[in-house]
């Protein structure tokens, strides 16, 4: 239903800090039709070439200033993931993505106010790292 919102095209790239590749990031819109506090993000999952990234290695930000792990995000109520503004998802991993082609899958799961089951969206993209 909201799969089309997940994993924005051309947003996946390695993160370079002080000359080192410290991981990779990608952006996604929300799998819902309104903005919610970050605490209502039920889960974010990333897979690289079929392999699931460890939950502890994922951090997210709505402003690219303050970053939260998924466990931390469960108590974050004063930062809102706005409808129409992407969330940046970072996977912390030395070396990031190696050069070449990768299949990257992103799962986004959010809680709504009234639907008993969380709303999930998934998108797989082929990403070229040069």
């Amino acid at each position: 239903m909201f799969d089309n919102n997940v994993f924005l095209e051309n947003t996946c790239k390695n993160i370079i800090e002080a000359g080192n590749v410290t991981g990779f990031e990608l952006k996604t819109n929300i799998t819902y039709y309104r903005g919610i506090p970050l605490s209502m993000v039920n889960d974010i999952g990333v897979e690289v070439d079929g392999e699931k990234v460890a939950r502890d290695n994922i951090v997210c930000s709505v402003d690219e200033v303050d970053w939260f792990t998924l466990d931390e995000m469960e108590t974050v109520t004063s930062y809102k993931w706005e409808y129409g503004e992407p969330l940046t998802v970072r996977v912390l991993k030395d070396g990031g993505l190696s050069n070449g082609s990768h299949e990257i899958a992103l799962d986004v799961v959010v809680r709504t106010a009234y639907i008993p089951v969380p709303l999930a969206g998934r998108k797989v993209r082929t990403v070229e790292i040069a």
Binding site: M1, F2, D3, N4, N5, N29, Y33, R34, G35, I36, P37, S39, M40, N42, E74, T75, T77, K80, E82, Y83, G84, E85, R111, A113, Y114
Partner: protein, 339 residues
């Protein structure tokens, strides 16, 4: 003259907004150019940091409302009872959140709040002093799949009747009047892999004048015959989603009519002949007209969520076609009047 007035829910143009093809101003301009005089807004959708937008955001809202002479009719409000993963909000937390929503609606020049389905009845009484002070009415949405036979809805209605305040009422979503399953929803699920036999089974329920929700309730879940047809996740997804469309007679509203503050005129798909595929708007408007309904009916396009990947989004065209249908029917009804 009919007292039925029309407006458009900005929800209808959400994909244009999400993908930045239209800003909030573009949306106001588009609607004003097409003779739309009133709007419904989800503050959480198109107003940053709602219910506490910045002064700058509020000034921009004031400018848009005055420039485009738009009447902000109603704010769609949610209650994040599951704000935290490990517990439900307390009663006090629920009430406090909604007080902020009442204040925001008042600041936006809006006198009516649509409370999302499943909002607990206990919030009403503590909120009444705020509703009165800020002159904002609170109305629970009666939505297909969560409508009159659902416990939380029944509890709200009971409390609404007990308090009997002009500041408490209902918003009716016409998704409860589907005589056919939306075709766009079935097509989308077909693309996901739902088999034709499953779709045919559900369509047959509507043809018999029933709806999947009622049938599932009668059988304590999916009927055996349907279970045997369900082979894949896509089949199950479709069967579950199908109970979000109800097939009630208009007369289900008779009992609640004095409490009805607003209507969501749900739109899934305008057909080439200018009708809505699932809902008989001529019939509904005749019913409202006969009852002397005095209030707004709001176009709420939801077909956008069922657009297949790679297919064009036609939110603007769908909204205008629906508005044209509603306005023509109202005009016809007025033409029947004897002066």
């Amino acid at each position: 003259m009919s007292k039925i007035k029309t407006c458009v829910s900005l929800y209808s143009l959400q994909d244009e907004y999400l993908n930045k093809r239209m800003s909030l101003e573009d949306i106001f301009k588009f609607l004003a150019e097409n003779s739309v005089e009133g709007i419904e807004i989800i503050p959480d959708q198109m107003m940053q940091n709602a219910p506490h937008p910045s002064e700058q955001t509020l000034a921009e809202w004031d400018r848009l409302v005055s420039t485009y002479k738009m009447k902000p009719v109603i704010a769609d409000v949610f209650l994040n009872t599951n704000l935290y993963k490990n517990r439900e909000l307390t009663k006090k937390e629920c009430v406090d959140l909604l007080i902020e929503e009442i204040k925001l609606a008042s600041r936006l020049g809006i006198k009516l709040i649509r409370l999302v389905s499943m909002v607990p009845a206990f919030v009403i009484e503590p909120l009444l002093p705020y509703a009165e002070k800020y002159n904002v009415t609170l109305a629970l949405e009666i939505h297909a799949g969560l409508s009159f036979d659902v416990k939380k809805t029944q509890d709200f209605i009971k409390e609404m009747k007990r308090l009997d305040s002009p500041y408490v009422g209902l918003v009716i979503d016409t998704g409860i009047f589907c005589t056919r399953l939306p075709r766009v929803m079935a097509e989308y699920c077909k693309h996901l892999g739902t088999r034709q036999e499953v779709t045919d089974y559900i369509n047959h329920i509507f043809e018999q004048g029933k709806d999947p929700r009622k049938v599932y309730l009668e059988h304590n879940g999916f009927p055996t015959e349907l279970k045997q047809l369900l082979k894949s996740d896509a089949d199950y997804f479709f069967a579950h989603m199908a109970d979000g469309y109800e097939n009630e007679p208009f007369s289900v509203l008779d009992e609640y009519f004095p409490y009805i503050k607003h209507f969501h005129f749900k739109l899934f798909e305008m057909t080439k002949s200018g009708e809505e595929y699932s809902i008989d708007y001529k019939g509904i408007l005749q019913y409202l007209y006969d009852k002397g309904y005095d209030g707004y009916v709001s176009t709420e396009y939801e077909g956008n969520r069922w657009v297949l990947p790679g297919h064009p989004m036609k939110e603007k065209e769908q909204v205008l076609a629906h508005q044209s249908l509603i306005r023509n029917v109202i005009q016809e009804l007025e033409g029947q009047e004897v002066y």
